[in-house]
Amino acid sequence: MDESLIITETERNQEWRAELRKNLKNKDRTAIPRVKMPEVDPQIRNKSFIEVNDGLSEDIAIREAQRCLDCVDPTCISGCPVGINIPKFIKKIESKDFAEAIKTLKETNVLPAVCGRVCPQEVQCEKQCFYTQKLKKQPVAIGYLERFAADYERKNGLASTPEISESNGIKVAVVGSGPAGLTCACDLAKMGYDVTVFEALHEIGGVLKYGIPEFRLPNEIIDFEINQLKKIGIKFIPNFIVGKTISFDDLKAQGFVSFFVGSGAGLPNFMNIPGENFVGIFSSNEYLTRVNLMGAAKPDYDTPVISGKNVAVIGGGNTAIDSVRTAKRLGAERAMIIYRRSKEEMPARVEEVKHAEEEGIEFFMLSNPIQYFADEKGRVKQMKIQKMILGEPDASGRRRPVPQEGSEYIVDVDTVVVSVGVSPNPLIAQVLKDINISKWGTIVVDENKMQSSIEDIFAGGDIVRGGATVILAMGDGRKASVAMHEYIQQKVKQNIK
């Protein structure tokens, strides 16, 4: 039996857990309806950047925790890329021991307040929940409870720094301060390494900061988590582009023995259609970075984005939804999603689509832009949209969008945000000539170790996956930290011999 499963079962048999199970019958637990997340009124929130979800109160969180059946075989854990001991933290909430709940979360997750907000639990842990799998009922709200525990810790000044081993004095570098980099940095620091995180932008947090708007993930939440990491000795250096500001070889000369590259996928894809270079057409990366990190929505900042009245966002993912909801908050009269497929195929989270609909976002489904038109100053003023139909499923089972001839129509727009995917920043491939790069520009790694073709360089997150969730990136960071430790230990042993 897997060692972690034995631990989980032993913990389940502890007296306090057995007592909880005895106190409320499963029949009564399953009769409790799933909690609804309290939200700010759509007509208020669509004019400001305040967080949409309010979070759960203590009483409601405990009630939701009671729904968890504390299964003998907790399948939910298998759905979590970092293997959080989900039943344990939920049962700690049920027993009102919130400090222990967050401690349990932090054993495997360095960013619980973030994951509780932005992880797609519905396709991960909650999808594997007994309620979903066997009872065909709504799963336990694992994500909401994770957020509750993390927020409780922060609001009540209970924050504790993780335990760290004695310093071994070995310097390691983490390139990029997104979820993969932060997780790797934390795990290495806990092992006693001297960790420095280099960040290209002026703020720490990577895509969590520049890519996710405040109304979904407030920056103060990220800053709080980062401060916890600073307290365990991790050094953060912003405005520093490894490969430009200084080379990998220079860092090696400064004593860094191994590197984790988590530099993300910051290169936006465009559609390569006529007129895409007109003024007023942004990538979602630029649009969101300007608003999230550069104060573009604030009149006293020097780098504004024009608050378009008719804003079209191209794409159907979470980034597209974030962009269109941002446009609405900046004053757009019409904020529109233009998506090639139907609602069922949208990669965005169902919750985010629901929020967007409530806030007055218009959805143009099975629609594809094929050309932009500009005024005499070169500023976009209209777009030509073609209607699509979904073809028969191909060999992969996917229904492809097929244009309908003669279905084209014109829509007035003054701002367009293109959100059709991202690619890795090509800088790493340009400066590390010997590193193995895929045709998509991602770093090729050994999946078990996250080790690249250059032995002292490990990588994870979007630079490897091309585009993934926060929690998958964190899982990569965790895996890499273990492999980096093994690699460094072997190297040290070789040097001693």
Binding site: N269, N272, R400, G421
Partner: protein, 151 residues
């Protein structure tokens, strides 16, 4: 003006077209900066070589294996701009370039089929057009899955 008087004329033309594609992709592979994109062009060369050899076998009297069937059309190359090949092309650029090239070949064979009165030549042209359409779809699916991935 190209004149086609026999099936051999058609096949010679098609073989020369495939060879021209092989030569072009060879040049692009040699110049590509990104090793992975170079590998992509090398894959294209192999694919085009297979097409050329298939046509040569037809010419030698072997049976033409293509069956007429409807090829699904995504038409991505209908609304995207033409890419000019360059040494620093990305894989996405290479796909756009290749799908536009296949589209041009499809149009050529369709046009030739329309201009041809002889039924056996018309059939060959339409089958060649279908083959090119299949190739274009292959690149479009790759582009659809990995470039226009919406998030």
């Amino acid at each position: 003006m190209i004149n086609f008087n026999s099936i051999d004329d058609v096949l010679n033309f098609a073989i020369a077209e495939e060879q021209a594609a092989i030569d072009l992709y060879t040049l692009l592979a040699e110049k590509a900066v990104n090793p992975a994109v170079r590998k992509t062009f090398e894959d294209f060369i192999q694919e085009e070589t297979r097409h050329r050899d298939k046509l040569s076998q037809m010419k030698e009297g072997k049976k033409f294996t293509l069956q007429p069937s409807e090829v699904q059309e995504m038409k991505i190359s209908d609304y995207t701009l033409t890419i000019k090949p360059s040494p620093d092309m990305t894989y996405a650029d290479a796909l756009l370039y290749a799908m536009n090239k296949e589209k041009a070949a499809f149009k050529l064979y369709t046009h030739l089929a329309a201009r041809t009165a002889a039924p056996e030549l018309k059939k060959i042209f339409l089958l060649l057009a279908q083959e090119e359409s299949n190739h274009k779809l292959h690149f479009e699916i790759e582009y659809d899955d990995h470039v226009l991935n919406e998030d």
